[in-house]
Symmetry: D2
Amino acid sequence: MQKIKLGMVGGGKDAFIGSVHRMAARLDDRYDLVAGALSSSPIKASESAAEIGIDKKRSYTSYQEMAKKEGKLADGIDAVAIVTPNHLHADVAKEFLEAGIHVICDKPLTAKLSDAEELATLVKESGLVFAITYNYSGYPMVRQAKEMIAKGEIGTVRLVQSEYAQDWLATNIEQNGQKQATWRTDPNQAGAGGAIGDIGTHAYQLAEFITGLEASSLLADLDSFVSGRSLDDNANILLHYKNGAKGMLWVSQIASGKENGLNIRIFGDKGGLEWSQEDPNYLQHTTLGKPKQILTRAGSTSGELANAASRIPSGHPEGFIEGFANIYRETADLILAHNNKTEFTNLVPTVDDGLRGMRFIDKAVASNQAGSIWQSLDH
Amino acid sequence: MQKIKLGMVGGGKDAFIGSVHRMAARLDDRYDLVAGALSSSPIKASESAAEIGIDKKRSYTSYQEMAKKEGKLADGIDAVAIVTPNHLHADVAKEFLEAGIHVICDKPLTAKLSDAEELATLVKESGLVFAITYNYSGYPMVRQAKEMIAKGEIGTVRLVQSEYAQDWLATNIEQNGQKQATWRTDPNQAGAGGAIGDIGTHAYQLAEFITGLEASSLLADLDSFVSGRSLDDNANILLHYKNGAKGMLWVSQIASGKENGLNIRIFGDKGGLEWSQEDPNYLQHTTLGKPKQILTRAGSTSGELANAASRIPSGHPEGFIEGFANIYRETADLILAHNNKTEFTNLVPTVDDGLRGMRFIDKAVASNQAGSIWQSLDH
Amino acid sequence: MQKIKLGMVGGGKDAFIGSVHRMAARLDDRYDLVAGALSSSPIKASESAAEIGIDKKRSYTSYQEMAKKEGKLADGIDAVAIVTPNHLHADVAKEFLEAGIHVICDKPLTAKLSDAEELATLVKESGLVFAITYNYSGYPMVRQAKEMIAKGEIGTVRLVQSEYAQDWLATNIEQNGQKQATWRTDPNQAGAGGAIGDIGTHAYQLAEFITGLEASSLLADLDSFVSGRSLDDNANILLHYKNGAKGMLWVSQIASGKENGLNIRIFGDKGGLEWSQEDPNYLQHTTLGKPKQILTRAGSTSGELANAASRIPSGHPEGFIEGFANIYRETADLILAHNNKTEFTNLVPTVDDGLRGMRFIDKAVASNQAGSIWQSLDH
Amino acid sequence: MQKIKLGMVGGGKDAFIGSVHRMAARLDDRYDLVAGALSSSPIKASESAAEIGIDKKRSYTSYQEMAKKEGKLADGIDAVAIVTPNHLHADVAKEFLEAGIHVICDKPLTAKLSDAEELATLVKESGLVFAITYNYSGYPMVRQAKEMIAKGEIGTVRLVQSEYAQDWLATNIEQNGQKQATWRTDPNQAGAGGAIGDIGTHAYQLAEFITGLEASSLLADLDSFVSGRSLDDNANILLHYKNGAKGMLWVSQIASGKENGLNIRIFGDKGGLEWSQEDPNYLQHTTLGKPKQILTRAGSTSGELANAASRIPSGHPEGFIEGFANIYRETADLILAHNNKTEFTNLVPTVDDGLRGMRFIDKAVASNQAGSIWQSLDH
């Protein structure tokens, strides 16, 4: 199968998410990482490129230069992965779209809602593939839940209880130079959302992805519990969905004891589903009046979507990297379909999902500022 | 030890909670059940009394008569257990208090807030013992959590995430004559709260009991998902606590797959605690930067309160009845202390806890009617 | 319903199991504890009797005297509960059987196999009720497992994996005067089995109770890991069952981290079942090719036996005391049936179960002494 | 870093384990797969090579030819991965060792003990790297357990309880042409061990790897429950370790409800550890007299070995592929160290581990045939 030539912006040494993107791209052998603007520091950029195995000639210190040159090379990159802090996403993405290069962008889409709106328009005009790595929607049992709800197995959805709780910001580590914390708690780099932007958008997107529902309005109570922090580190949010379902969404980076606690529970009029990211190979399913069932990834009653997203048999746990790799694998399929002008059913989160995430952040902040008043999510 | 002579109002054949109260009273051999007005139906009352072993002469069909006669008997009852539907609690309690008889009352305190306020005043004037069976606060590991928080083991409490989810009202069983459902969904018998009254009050009280905090205000989004139901069957509630802590409280009787899912998770600036009623012998404790610990009932590091509330060694599970029995055992101690005019430290929920529960119901309904607006819980 | 007049031998102050028997007897109000020889120390006996509420006149210091007198009283006890150390069971039981009094005896049946054989004969000749408190067989979900296997829901049983692991004897606490440890590690009081007698007999009986199978032979590797201990504190045992099923049985009192870890897993040619005593309200059931199911006590698909053994709804956990109380409740039914000469289907463990337990101990010791050689369990 | 040029024998289309080896090799970008004899069928071999991206010229239909040619090429492969059925391992390995090529071989080492002994000698004479993919020893929390035991955190090991239970052979699927089942139940391809060879060797190796102990003798009770099957599908095994520790090992491929249930529990005189392959990111640790702790992969108290084996932060689950990839990554380090004549501390299972596994199979069969008699594992 033809491999996608991939570039990367950001993701130099010590960056966490860059190496995750690279492992995800590598797992299924669908990409060749051949170019990069891995750091704005020239030394760090070239050292990182050497370490990763990118040819010197295609290691850039400016993403603008990279976009322009790669766009013109005969064997230039097909796609770029953007793994910078949030405030750079929009500019970088525009540059590559304008050079006719497909984009894989980390979340949230941008730092400002207005940038997101502009970017969404640009993507549509370009006709190019734009994937946003809401990677949790790549987990096989998340797909299983989506398929079951679509088939009506829990009936009409009434309740969507979701939460994403961590504890790594329970103390003010950003004041001690922890790099990941520093930019995430800085409005200039992260945007208007703290925890709601960094992880809340994941939970919000996941709930919509699994249920197939759109949220219509929200109400938020945000806090910055850690002294000296200007962005939210905890958010208690209520949601209304367009079909009449109700939701609660708890987002926290100060919940002592939580590592990466993304959990979602969905209740319909016939049954319910529960999934936890930290134990991703299981899905609990209850039908009213019957015992709880524990579905396993690739297990005996696994559906089409979950099987397509699995690489190994049940009982052999898959994890975060495999789920992330599913987004990459499917994006490769999308790019090939685009290049070959064929149709392809897409599960990969789009720029519109990214835009919805930005609106979620914007409205949560607005609701909180108004004293926890309902805000429409439609516009 | 001197045994308490106990009477019971309500709790005839087929009543669920009456038999629980009797088992709880019996477990530690601190009570003799000697009188009852078990049903307003004379036949059912006498049959129930015979079954239970109450002497014919002390089986009444009217609680008024029972209160008057027992209040005058030389060996009349010391205390009465009230296990009727909610709307009768206030009148029954008053009658026995006026006869100088201590009261053990099921929750919620009354059907109307005004009745609750009046009853609270009456109790204080009477000087008698009044216990409300918020039984979940009797579980040993709930006590352990309370003791740990009081000792500062998780630091200052920031977040209180509680939920009480069931599924037995996911369909309209009240329209098919299911007795427990019928009165609980009828505003005339249950009061203004559906799920929030029946189980929400438990969760609300439990959070205050464990944390030692008082809620200052709430905001509620209530629903009646099941067609034809006038009281809430789902409630999504946000809370503010007086120390600045924030809370979410989810109450549902339509959450398909949930049997009796009362869970509470509390996060402070040093650590966190998690407890689930369905697995009550465990308490999860995390201190920031250390591995999660699973504390067990009566286990090696069990504290004073938990040990006092335990009857058997760790690994030998205790359950709902034992927790309920703790409320009864401690109420017996209170009554003896009262009768002997001695001091006794009390963990048993009081009429004030009952009154707070009624205010919780009242304000949740008011907040919801106003479109989810914050309501003070102070008055 | 007519109450059983109960006496107790052993179970004075500080005795663990005596108070469990009393709570179990009390829970369902089927017994009146009216006589006792609670201790061989006269002072302790009378103090214990006073505490428990037994009339002075019926508090004895000699069980022989108690048996003789109670056997002749018009309102003498119907049954006696024997809760002494093992080596006294046989003599005490004989005395009461000869006085025409039914017996409820703690396990293991006796300290010596020969005593057990003699006692079994005596019981049969007497025609009296003899219950041995293999209390774990009283748990509702154990009954559920038994019913499901009897109905063929997992097909022909092939594998029986059972274990009973504790850690309270991981150090030599018997040398520091811990009372429970002292007699259990003393061959003169405990008999030939250490862990295999104290807890191994429970696991062995439970496996036979649930599966309805009889073990035909065993092979044992016993150890006394703690220095200075003469009885086994760990046993690794293989089993053959008469239908061709194979078993492993692990018994340990030195398994650091185990509190009361009695677990049983049974696999047939159609499905499997798993149950853990420490979480007794659940039963895992898998049918080949289908997802694992979590059955809950009194849950939606709960069977006849489990429902009969339950007191409260699903989601409201029952525990050790309730399971123990089921043995007492059913023994009360048996005694009434005996007295009224009516038939009654019996789930209560009998003297034959006790005898099988003694043979299990005897053969495990013999197998180990012979270097782990198979021993028949038939005679 | 210099990449290892890798070849593969076996692992054509439809082969499960071949694709796992390839993902494991790819994850950390340490290998280039450049040659293969993927199938003995020429058509399948070339189709598989094309699919994988191996150059036609280096796609072979004979492993002998491949070994000879690659051994002489200037840029010939550095190492070969052998993923054929067991009976071919020895011959293939010899061929490549003789050509001076390092070997990564799937387990069990060979089909016959004598072949294994011969191969072990050959490996030592060659001085080449020989890795056997006992992949479960690559899991981070397995490494954590190894490190903790080595540091004495649970004291002297007394008990080793291990099990590996599956259910995919609970029915006779080998008679319906299921490819994986067919060769694994055929003595000519699998060797003398059925379940004990396929999965028992994993559990046996894992116990030795974690504890650092060697087993001295075993006693086995083997069965072939499924009609028509000649190799064992269930094994109940007792073990003695050289330090005096005792073990039980249960191996089954007919345990209805088990997917890939490899579990190990180790108890020392100070504490215990428990790990389950299906939830590999957790390790339970208990110290006597303290609460159970749940250690998490890369969590706050994670040790050196576990951290070295982790790619992403705690709470982001890693799985089977990542654990497998650790064996590949470390083998790459070993090969570079060998080629550069530098020292390197090795955690990768060796040919000696493979040989011990073959002796385990051989002695288990011998013990069973003799009626479950202890067999020495030393020679």
